[in-house]
């Protein structure tokens, strides 16, 4: 088939696109919303609660909590619906735009402010005025749910990263298995002693910052004493000295072992299934503390220890990074008052304690997290203690995807295509440029 009039084809495409887009503009006033999913029967209100907890371990736990809530009063019934992790937020976005969102949803803590900025969630200050419950939460988490000083979500769970290490490997290398290196320099020295080679081929690697969950970006945050890529005023500081030192630390390790050796070794253990720490191929493994459940379930009596992230010099701070999930009311939800009551229940001590106990998650409620029964588990206690040095970084509003600009430069530096200084200067310039564009 030949298009005789290519111009008219283009024109018509453009026209139909414009028509479709303009149809979207009037869509979000949400007056005639769908009420099918939230009907009030006999004065009782049904609220919709969306989570991504559908696995056979998590689902019964959240549904038990919901059951308890439904039985605890006779005005509100919570209906739980599961959607796959990640995709749940695609669905929510469409639902908010159409004005028929759920009443409560679980979402990421880091982007709470960004969602508030885009008018996707509900300001909770009115509820908090009547009942101030912010004292329940770890302060670092509470700060993350604020947008222009007002709360738009309640923290539910959190996590923190720590160093897991193989005590048997430590003993075998003549190291004290109860003492993990305190500083980054000591860590590198320890790592050297833990490497094992067969001829020129590594059979075990003591530690590499390129493996597991605390890479250059996190180390840079630890080196700069918890500031990370943006300073207090929101100005990007990607190429500052501490971040450069962190890059050099990563590169020194890579040069010692050989980047090629690191890559080959990494390729041999793949990325998702068998874990090299559990398999005894890597001796030191920084990860979220929930990694413990994998060791517990698959680590057949692995003799491991857990320690805070190192620091650059004595008492500079064992800074770690964390994240977590929050509960929030999507914009346009029909029963905010009832949603609030349910969220209050979910963040209260008993529900939070139950969740922590069954899932081994770190929870946002300080009192629940510090429950003496829970603290009997060594790893759990270490994780709660680590909250004092754990930082959660909100997504910057005028550069939400800044990592996409930093990561290529990070990789260029690691691959040796650019000097660390050049790479970080380039990343700094790129992020500055992005922010300039977004603030116009």
């Amino acid at each position: 088939m030949k298009l005789k009039k290519p111009l008219s084809a283009i024109l018509m495409t453009a026209l139909s696109t414009v028509l479709l887009l303009s149809g979207c503009g009037g869509g979000s006033n949400g007056e005639d919303q769908q009420t099918e999913t939230a009907t009030a029967s006999k004065g009782k209100v049904t609220i919709d609660f969306w989570t991504f907890w559908g696995s056979e371990t998590r689902r019964p736990i959240i549904e038990n909590i919901i059951d308890d809530f439904n039985k605890s009063q006779d005005r509100i019934t919570v209906k739980h619906t599961y959607y796959p992790f990640g995709d749940i937020w695609t669905k929510e976005l469409a639902a908010v735009a159409a004005g028929n969102p759920p009443d409560v949803i679980v979402n990421t803590i880091e982007a709470t402010g960004q969602r508030a900025d885009k008018n996707q969630n509900t300001n909770l200050s009115e509820f908090l005025k009547k009942e101030d419950i912010k004292g329940r939460f770890f302060p670092e988490l509470w700060d993350t749910v604020l947008y222009k000083g007002e709360a738009y979500a309640l923290p539910f769970t959190t996590d923190t990263r720590m160093m897991f290490y193989n005590k048997d490997h430590f003993k075998e290398a003549g190291l004290d298995p109860d003492k993990f290196p305190d500083t980054w320099a000591e860590l590198e020295e320890t790592a050297k002693k833990l490497d094992r080679k067969n001829g020129s081929v590594y059979t075990r690697i003591g530690y590499s910052p390129q493996y597991a969950g605390f890479d250059w970006g996190s180390i840079a945050m630890n080196f700069d004493k918890g500031t990370n890529f943006f300073d207090d005023t929101g100005k990007p500081v990607i190429n500052d000295q501490a971040h450069l030192d962190a890059m050099n630390y990563v590169l020194d390790n890579a040069n010692r072992i050989g980047q090629k050796n690191l890559d080959t070794f990494k390729a041999s253990f793949g990325s998702k299934q068998a874990n090299p720490f559990i398999a005894g191929q890597v001796s030191i493994w920084p990860d979220a503390t929930t990694f413990y459940t994998q060791i517990r379930d698959f680590g057949q009596n692995l003799n491991f220890g857990i320690a805070p992230i190192p620091e650059i010099s004595k008492d500079s701070g064992h800074y770690s990074v964390g994240g977590g999930f929050v509960l929030e009311i999507p914009k346009g939800a029909k029963h905010p008052q009832e949603a609030w009551e349910f969220m209050r229940y979910l963040t209260d001590k008993s529900a939070q304690k139950y969740w922590a106990e069954k899932n081994f998650d770190s929870v946002a409620n300080q009192e629940a997290a510090n429950d003496p029964e829970l603290l009997k588990n060594e790893v759990y206690k270490a994780a709660v203690d680590n909250m004092a040095v754990t930082k959660v970084f909100p997504v910057p509003l005028n550069a939400p995807d800044f990592l996409n600009l930093i990561n290529p430069q990070r990789d260029a530096a690691i691959m040796g295509k650019m000097s660390p200084k050049e790479a970080l200067d380039k990343a700094q310039a790129d992020v500055e440029n992005l922010m300039k564009q977004n603030t116009k």
Partner: protein
Amino acid sequence: MSTRMSSRMVHAHSNYYQSRKLRQRVGMAVLIAVLTALAMIILMPLWWMISTSLKSLNEIMSYPPTWIPESFHWENYRLTWSRGNFTRYTLNTLLLAGVGVITHVLSNTFIAYGFAKIKFPGRQMLFTVMLGTMMIPGFVTLIPTYIMFAKIHWVGTYLPLMVPGLFGSAYQIFLVRQFYMSIPNELIEAGKIDGASHYYIWWKIMIPLAKPAVVVIAIMTFQGAWNDFLGPLIYISKESMFNLQIGLQSFKGQETTQWHYLMAGSLIVLAPVIALFFFFQRYFIEGMNISSGTKG
């Protein structure tokens, strides 16, 4: 002497013949070896799926990875089926795919008939507009369409997944039209002389003659509905109405993935599509020919 010579010639000839045969055989062997190696490379992920689906989670997580499971856990399939509520999801998916195939075949063959065989003012223009819609990426129309369906209270039902099929799909209309173009107009004129209406001609002449194209769009639609994830995800709000693709995702969690169930489930979902391919292989290839324009 002459006999000796001729025997030598025969010998040389048979030598030549043998070496040619040998060369052919070696060539064939090399070709088969290369093709086998390539096929193995392509089948490796599939084997990995099968093997993972039969392992225990402990074996999946252990190092070094094993190609053949140490012990065969056939019960993974049974557990996947019951834990994932797959009976329900399969029925739902079959319903969606079935309705999809019927509506797409009816509407697209009908619309294509108009574009291919009926002359009316603005036909070319309309056809161009229709083709133009193929250039709009699905993500652009996602939110507006969703809002529209929300306004008419169709979200939470199967209607947004079923009804649009009645309004045709640009690519399939194009495909069937190309096929119709190769059917001589004389047939239609003969029908008209005998007093047949357009509906009759479409149903009794065009569809039977365009069978390959009809099968191709049926298969395309079935595959599309079978593998659809985004549509059901955003329009369905009850778990009892989920389809297989959403059901599969429940084995993937926030921090751990139940690989054995995920792989067993993926194979269960994959099986009908593979079966379909073997049964209708000829049409798949024919479909590629139609769409690349060699027929039209």
